[in-house]
Symmetry: C2
Subunit: 428 residues, 2 copies
């Protein structure tokens, strides 16, 4: 099945809203085995929208529109698409009831009521977040049409729960299950090579994605029922976990920080952080996760040397002798914050995020990360030197490495210092 | 002038790359007074690209392509667009020299050399970041065509420096200057009303944008020269600053944190942060700014009550009596961290970011922010209750409010506690 997305909204053509809806729909269509051949964006202009819809109904098997279903005067998608597809709009009582309930008895304007007008005989996609329902139907020329609202919080659940099943309803194996296998410490290219045989298979499909210094593999199966599709995914996910080994940090988790917070919580362990160049980013990422208060009691951002001494007990002479950006200082920061917080683990991070402050011996991108468990302390050196992605990227990647060290220590995986660094032991 | 963007790349249709290029081009075209009527995306497929280009050359005055200029086999934009536009590709020696220099004498593959092939008679857009040049030319049917590379780091400077001037070269007033006036504490709707007369004017144009709990106004003027355009912007920018008053935190700055770091640095002032619900986000945002080490020496993330007591000196009985989420605790956190860091200002933040932990008296979204200057202490209460944007948004907005309080205190603006809260004075 070949598909096309039409995004409707003048705000998209002015460039102040990035069209994340189109990417999201594209990803779900790809996972569903539907070939997306075109996407286009038009403003809130009925003539140009009509042109785009007519072209799409002519050349594609399925047309998905996003946006323009709301109550305002410039929301014209339904009227225009229905006219192009040879459909009359009729009032859908269930949608009207939902809108009335949403407004809790307040008087509805005619434009609010307009939202309950849907193409005759369509499949209604209920909106559990906002007021405008979506819908799916077949056009007079036999093409599948799905209309979705623009706000991502409304579009995302409706797409997954209603639109994709609608598009697949007449195809075999309409149930789809996707699993996400997340990986830190291996490049996308390397993983793609290791799993090339899996990526060539069609059901389940496996595809690699890279993002923010890490990567993931998406496994998608189609079958008659969700249970069967899930069962088809299972051996591939297990195979991936086996092949990716200790670099796979989780399946169906959102992020490294989520995996780390869950792991610490399960084992009733706590961590404290002392950050210099990352400036609170590790603490921020840990506390992004609901429930992190059980595993994280204290973080210190020690930008100045005096604060490293005062708060973490890093001796002045060590700072003088080795410099603030050194494995020695990272270690003492990790040990100092662990003791101050009385936590199981302490993290210390010191480095040069740029754009200034680099020297030939200590270039921009050099970061030392230490983890102390009260007995041992490990140091990882990161040299993202020559990286053109800037300060933000160096900081993010350093924070990810700190999270990786916590995970590796809790699971006893080794690799704390990368292969290049020998394990050093110190009394805590 | 009516324009159209064609984005080329299969990765965009698979949904794993969000098309930020299209938004960026859209924004610049809008600022340049060029009407963007359509954007479309096609994969690395010559037939479908040809269709899209032919349609665009037929219905639009200007066509801008992004992507597909690189050296690999699926980079087909130049060949396809040139053929549609009735142009022959010829070797551009300057581009070839640049590519050879880029590869430092290593042997060039034929596909690398392909990048220097450009439509005959075109204006070359040099690529100072990567290898593939862009270009601009007139098609056989008299339409303007600009081709840009896909990577944003290459596209952005080439668009501003070459493509927009190329598109405007035959129009009057081809020089464009934009200024950004940033605002915190006023809604977009309110500002749009206050400046409706300016938004209706055409040269300079003024347009409002909302993002992440704040808003900005973009002022754009066109004239024969940049100097004249800048001079036209100036009175409008001054007028906006006057109308928006203390809510305008900067002109041509990137963010509230940049404005705050600059302001503190100018006045040789320092700030320290003690964060509970924001978990290090204020520290992270301050240290996102290069040079922040001059104004920020210490941040504390005190998630647990014991740490608030131990690190910041918040008495246990105050925590017991008022609860951790209280104006009293916020104040003591601000005072405690200021003293610990020996800084000019201390920030204390405590609240309930959700999704759990809310009670009827202290609902999710309730945050207390305090600023101490060693003599006075101010508390701001935020009640983002019922906000559906979630934990991340509550945290971000709280951090922005903390930054706003710093700015207001440094500038002596008042409004530290919003109108709803009376100023409370306490010995530091």
């Amino acid at each position: 099945m070949n598909a096309e997305i039409i995004s409707v909204g003048t705000e998209l053509l002015l460039g102040h809203t990035i069209n994340t809806d189109a990417s999201f729909v594209a990803r779900e269509l790809s996972a569903a085995g539907i070939n997306l051949l075109y996407t286009c964006t038009v403003g809130d202009n009925p003539e140009r929208l009509k042109d785009a819809v007519e072209t799409a109904l002519d050349r594609s098997d399925a047309v998905i529109t996003t946006g323009g279903l709301g109550p305002t005067g410039d929301d014209l998608t339904k009227e225009t698409v229905a006219a192009c597809a040879g459909k009359k709009l009729v009032m859908d009582q269930a949608s009207m009831d939902h809108i009335e309930k949403y407004f809790k008895g307040r008087l509805l304007s005619p434009t609010q009521k307009k939202q309950a007008m849907l193409p005759e005989g369509c499949t209604v996609f209920p909106n559990h977040v906002g007021t405008a329902p979506g819908c799916g139907f077949r056009s007079a020329n036999g093409k599948l049409v799905a209309m979705l609202p623009g706000p991502p919080s409304e579009l995302i659940p409706m797409l997954k729960d209603c639109a994709v099943p609608f598009l697949l309803k007449d195809t075999e194996n309409a149930a789809i299950v996707s699993r996400i296998v997340r990986v830190f410490g291996l490049g996308e290219g390397y993983v793609a090579e290791q799993i090339a045989d899996l990526c060539e298979k069609t059901n389940p499909t496996s595809a690699t994605y890279a993002k923010d210094g890490e990567m993931f593999v998406r496994v998608t199966a189609r079958a008659e029922t969700s249970e069967k599709a899930a069962a088809q995914c299972e051996p591939v996910v297990e195979d991936l976990k086996e092949r990716l080994g200790e670099f796979c940090y989780g399946v169906d988790v959102e992020s490294l920080e989520e995996a780390v917070v869950r792991l610490l919580a399960e084992r009733h362990l706590t961590v404290a952080t002392a950050e210099s160049c990352t400036g609170g980013l590790v603490a921020k990422r840990i506390t992004d996760i609901p429930g992190s208060s059980a595993v994280f009691h204290m973080g210190a951002v020690t930008y100045a040397n005096e604060i490293k001494t005062k708060l973490l007990g890093v001796p002045e002479d060590v700072l003088k002798q080795y410099g603030a950006v050194s494995p020695q200082v990272a270690k003492l920061m990790a040990q100092g914050v662990r003791e101050a917080a009385c936590s199981d683990f302490g993290i210390g991070i010191t480095g040069i995020a740029g754009p200034d402050g680099g020297t030939p011996e200590k270039p921009i991108g050099l970061v030392y990360l230490a983890l102390s468990d009260g007995k041992d302390v490990w140091v990882r050196e990161m040299r993202n030197t020559g990286c053109t992605k800037g300060r933000g990227y160096v900081r993010f990647l350093a924070a990810s490495n700190a999270l990786d060290m916590i995970r590796r220590r809790v699971l006893g995986l080794g690799g704390m210092e990368y292969a290049a660094y020998s394990r050093e032991k110190h009394a805590g």
